[in-house]
């Protein structure tokens, strides 16, 4: 008798997504759905969709969902989790949503230690609005609102969200991963699994930043986008774990005597 060894996760809806060729949102959706299935929490999971390319995430996950205003997903997640602490609540947000307009919401959600999981997808550009500069756009990277490349003299340097959040004392788990090849995607799934597991166990706030591709707005062929990410994004956005429940706070080191 044939055994099914590979199937669509139950938490992933059986629909076609609107994502562009070469975009890795679909991979990240699948990893999140697999983790939800493996933890057996689909029936009590509520997702929060952002504004941006993943605005329609509520159509792609087979769980209950809230569509949030731009940047406010962590506030909506707070409302859901405080109302129903028994639910597993995750937000799925892009870099314009989380790191620009929603910076106050993510910082304070993390700092209150809301027992939610944030999936932060960083592709270094605004996708849905058509390729404008994001807070995560790399120095010199061309975008429609910095057509000569990001000038750090006027736009500042890109924000490293995982590092930023990990300076807070409260959050439990902060990591950065990538999905530009199958090997790192396995690591990304492990980071997501840990983030969701901490929530299931009642440990506080977790965030996984995942580097993602956007060939459409990077202006390169889909086939080149993963190597572009590896070459340009990885050096600035190192993958790894920045904070765990065990690692405690990053206290300032005293000056040597």
């Amino acid at each position: 008798m044939a055994e099914t060894v590979f199937a669509r996760p139950q938490a992933l809806a059986d629909v076609t997504t609107h994502y562009c060729p070469g975009c890795t949102h679909g991979v990240i959706h699948r990893l999140v759905a697999e983790v939800i299935d493996e933890l057996g929490v689909r029936e009590r999971t509520v997702g929060i969709a952002p504004v941006g390319c993943s605005v329609l995430a509520y159509n792609y996950f087979a769980t209950d969902f809230h569509e949030a205003a731009h940047g406010r997903a962590p506030a909506v997640a707070t409302g859901v989790k405080r109302a129903r602490p028994d639910l597993i609540v995750f937000s799925y947000q892009g870099d314009g949503d989380l790191a620009s307009i929603g910076m106050a919401e993510i910082i304070h959600c993390a700092n209150r230690g809301e027992k939610v999981t944030v999936v932060f997808v960083n592709n270094a550009i605004y996708g849905m609005t058509g390729g404008q500069m994001a807070p995560t756009t790399l120095p010199g990277q061309v975008a429609t609102t910095c057509q000569l490349g990001r000038d750090v003299a006027t736009a500042g340097h890109p924000i490293r969200v995982a590092e930023l959040i990990s300076t807070l004392r409260t959050p439990a788990f902060v990591a950065r991963a990538s999905v530009h090849n199958p090997l790192v995607a396995v690591h990304a799934k492990e980071m997501l699994r840990r983030a969701f597991r901490y929530q299931v166990e009642g440990v506080c706030f977790s965030l996984v930043e995942i580097l993602s591709t956007c060939p459409t707005n990077w202006g390169i062929p889909p086939a080149e986008s993963t190597s572009w990410l590896e070459k340009n994004m990885l050096p600035y956005y190192p993958v790894g774990i920045f904070k765990t429940p065990e690692s405690g706070s990053r206290e300032p080191r005293p000056l040597p005597a």
Binding site: V46, H66, A69, R82
Partner: protein
């Protein structure tokens, strides 16, 4: 139940708790801080949750999440804070979520001042956020009525799946008056279970999605029609109005709401003692506005006087109701200054003596 002397802000908070409100999200702003302070102390006693949000923007999105989970939830703020909540309120209305929002109005525009005002009438009744929506607006004139309207607001919000605003001012918030909470109170509406809430999907139903995004214009237009039909039902069923001194004949009809109406009632007592026939019509619902009641009351009078703590906002609705069938006069203070009974008496006498000029706003 016996009456208890309570500050308006505390009575508003307690009324919410009595209504089964389990969650409060808010941000400090004068003059309404006593409401979140009360809730921060009181909600944990009943198994509820208080969260001090990082901003009013965040608070309005937290109530969105909590309301979408099917729980009774409230926030309160004052004018500049309500402006920041406009984003969340629009999404709440678009997603048809029930919440109660208390606005203890302060004088504006901008940072303005912290004293009582009615300058947010337009915002509350016509434009509480972007897009095409309305919220029920209830305006109490006493602490007891504030408590009663908060309780009704929760029922109305659930019934219509719509935000409901209780619009007060610093007087309502700070005043101490006896309040009674009836232990035998029952909901004013028959409330169906919240089967639409996003509470996790066990496969027994399609997924519930709390959403206001409709990219297909035909679908959005259908949604707009559905919302409009709901607002029409509010107009048909929810208008509330009170009168004072309108039992007999009267020559001047005063139209005023909230604490200003209370000042006018004192003035009417004085005018009546002098044999001058003046009556008050007080809209309790500002949306829906009691156009018909204003029209019916005004035909009995020779002139109408609108009294407001604004440069003239509700007066436009009164003019709309009357369609120039009666002369409309206007008395107002702004900036946090209050109208005194003496000013109302003097204005009413001026109208009766032909010394007051008719005005037209708009």
């Amino acid at each position: 139940m016996t009456k208890k002397l309570m500050k308006g802000s505390e009575a508003i908070g307690e009324a919410a708790v009595q209504s089964g409100c389990k969650l409060f999200f808010g941000y400090p702003i004068t003059p309404q801080n006593e409401i979140p302070e009360y809730m921060s102390m009181r909600l944990p006693q009943v198994g509820g949750t208080f969260v001090q949000a990082e901003s009013e923007v965040a608070a309005s999105n937290m109530i969105y999440g909590a309301a979408g989970s099917g729980e009774r939830v409230m926030t309160s703020s004052s004018s500049p804070g309500i402006s920041l909540m406009a984003e969340g309120i629009s999404y709440l209305a678009g997603s048809e979520l029930p919440v109660v929002i208390v606005n203890i109005v302060r004088a504006g525009p901008g940072l303005g001042g912290i004293l009582p005002s009615q300058g947010d009438y337009f915002q509350a009744t016509k434009g509480l956020g972007h897009g095409d929506f309305r919220v029920l607006v209830l305006a109490p004139w006493s602490v007891q009525e504030a408590a009663d309207l908060v309780q009704d607001a929760f029922d109305l919000a659930d019934y219509y799946r719509n935000p409901v605003m209780v619009l007060g001012d610093g007087l309502i918030g700070q005043m101490m008056e006896p309040v009674e909470f009836r232990s035998d109170r029952t909901p004013i509406k028959e409330l169906p279970p919240k089967t639409w809430a996003a509470t996790g999907c066990d496969g027994s139903r399609p997924t519930n999605i709390i959403n206001s995004l409709f990219l297909d214009p035909e679908e959005l237009e259908r949604h707009n029609h559905k919302l409009k039909a709901k607002y029409d039902r509010m107009v048909a069923d929810e208008i509330r109005v009170a009168t004072y001194g309108a039992e007999g004949d009267f020559d001047v009809l005063i139209v005023a709401y909230g604490t200003v109406a209370r000042v006018c009632s004192t003035a009417i007592d004085e005018l009546r003692e002098e044999g001058l026939r003046v009556a008050l019509l007080r809209p309790i619902t500002l949306f829906p506005f009691p156009y018909e009641a204003v029209r019916e009351a005004a035909v009995q009078a020779r002139a109408v006087l609108v009294v407001e703590l604004s440069s003239g906002q509700m007066i436009e609705d009164v003019q709309l109701a009357l369609a120039r069938s009666r002369p409309v006069h206007f008395l107002n203070r702004m900036g946090g200054m209050l109208v005194s009974p003496d000013e109302v008496v003097a204005k009413a006498k001026a109208i009766l003596d032909g010394r007051s000029a008719e005005v037209f706003h708009g």
